[in-house]
């Protein structure tokens, strides 16, 4: 009744979870790229470096 729940192999569910995993990795890499491209400029804007206003 309260035993350990053993998952059975289900290709559709595996694909569903795989899609979430893939989205997570794509978002991590994608946002990472955006951060690298625009991050420094955004940070300067955010923390208000006077010299950057020039």
């Amino acid at each position: 009744m309260s035993g350990l729940e053993i998952p059975t192999w289900d290709p559709e569910t595996a694909m569903l979870i795989g899609a979430i995993l893939l989205e997570a990795i794509v978002l991590y890499v994608g946002y990472g790229g955006i951060e690298r491209l625009f991050g420094p400029r955004f940070m300067r804007l955010l923390i208000g470096g006077e010299e950057d206003a020039q």
Partner: protein
């Protein structure tokens, strides 16, 4: 195969307004998740229930979302060197056994007809107790300042170990001893006991357990706060992945919900994880404690509401949880910006 996936995606069934709402909510949850290593499951699932999604879809999609967010946040913490895989592996083993023991306890209490009441009381007592302890400790040690810019590069061994953890490390020296990140040396049995105990509570309360595991890792094992957050997220990847799979088999995972939530939370988790390296650890604990206290009050109000059949009180409880999450996420971002600006000011003054 493709048609089944697109059916599973369910994106056509989600209106642009709902998708935008999910992205915004995901952003808030992502900041909290990346910063504290917890906060996903008990925010997303009640919100989905309030939006009239069936319970299995709310729980399953909430768990799938937690899984995706944990993957992203773990990758980020890995890059910052804040995941202890050795600790994580031992924790996963102990927690799994503990969860099963917790579930068995629930079934036993259920047979006695006491499960609902005992679980609610335990939930409120635990959230309130941990919240109060963490807040009191953080306020006691509060030196009132932000951290300097070198915080991101600060050596993990420089983090202060709580007294209770030092006592445990000194007294319990049963081999094998394990050396963790931040030069923490502790008996593997202590880690296993903590993992089992937190798993037990997690299985008993039916929650992800991040809010129990993280303080336990800090106070009982003595790992630095960033490592506790990173390792907790690593553990959630496994538990969340398995849970999502089990719910997904029953059709409980709706990608129309998970995809936009994850889109927002991926950005939020990036901000939250980065903030852990900028805001000082006492600041982290104050927010963490505050949110747990708000959660305890909200659950308490919700429980009283459902007990006396007052749906308004249930809604108030939910609004309180979500409101606290929005406020805390905003506070995390605000404090990080202030801390960075202070550092910038100091650096400018030094160069002058």
């Amino acid at each position: 195969m493709l048609s089944s996936l697109s059916d599973g995606l369910g994106l056509l069934g989600t209106s642009p307004e709902m998708a935008a709402l999910f992205v915004g909510f995901g952003l808030v949850v992502g900041v909290l998740f990346g910063f504290f290593g917890m906060g996903g499951s008990f925010l997303v699932t009640p919100a989905l229930l309030m939006l009239d999604y069936p319970a299995p879809v709310a729980v399953g999609s909430g768990m799938a979302f937690v899984f995706g967010t944990a993957v992203i946040a773990t990758l980020k913490h890995h890059d910052l060197g804040q995941v202890d895989y050795k600790l994580g592996a031992i924790m996963i083993t102990g927690t799994t056994v503990g969860i099963e023991a917790g579930r068995a306890s629930v079934y036993y209490l259920e047979s006695l007809g006491l499960a609902g009441g005992v679980i609610s009381v335990a939930y409120v007592a635990l959230l309130g107790g941990v919240g109060a302890m963490v807040t009191r400790d953080a306020l006691k040690n509060d030196d009132g300042g932000g951290i300097d810019h070198e915080a991101a590069d600060r050596d993990l061994s420089e983090y202060e170990i709580p007294e209770i953890a030092k006592t445990i490390q000194r007294t319990v020296r049963i081999p094998p001893m394990v050396t963790l990140r931040g030069d923490v040396r502790v008996s593997a049995w202590v880690i296993t006991a903590v993992a089992f105990a937190t798993g037990l509570l997690s299985g008993f309360l039916g929650v992800g357990g991040g809010f129990i595991r993280m303080p336990a890792m800090i106070y009982a094992i003595g790992v630095p706060v960033p490592v506790a957050v990173g390792t907790d997220l690593f553990e959630i990847v496994f538990s969340g992945g398995l849970g999502s799979y089990l719910y997904g088999q029953g059709g409980g995972v709706d990608l129309g919900i998970v995809v936009p939530l994850l889109f927002g939370s991926a950005l939020g988790a990036r901000v939250g994880s980065a903030a852990t390296a900028v805001v000082d650890s006492d600041g982290i604990k104050v927010y963490f404690g505050g949110m747990l206290l708000a959660g305890a009050i909200a659950v308490g109000i919700g429980e009283i509401g459902s007990y006396i059949g007052n749906s308004l009180m249930e809604t108030v409880g939910l609004v309180l949880v979500i409101g606290a999450a929005v406020v805390v996420a905003a506070a995390v971002i605000y404090t990080s910006v202030v801390s960075l600006r202070t550092t910038r000011g100091r650096q400018t003054a030094t160069t002058d």
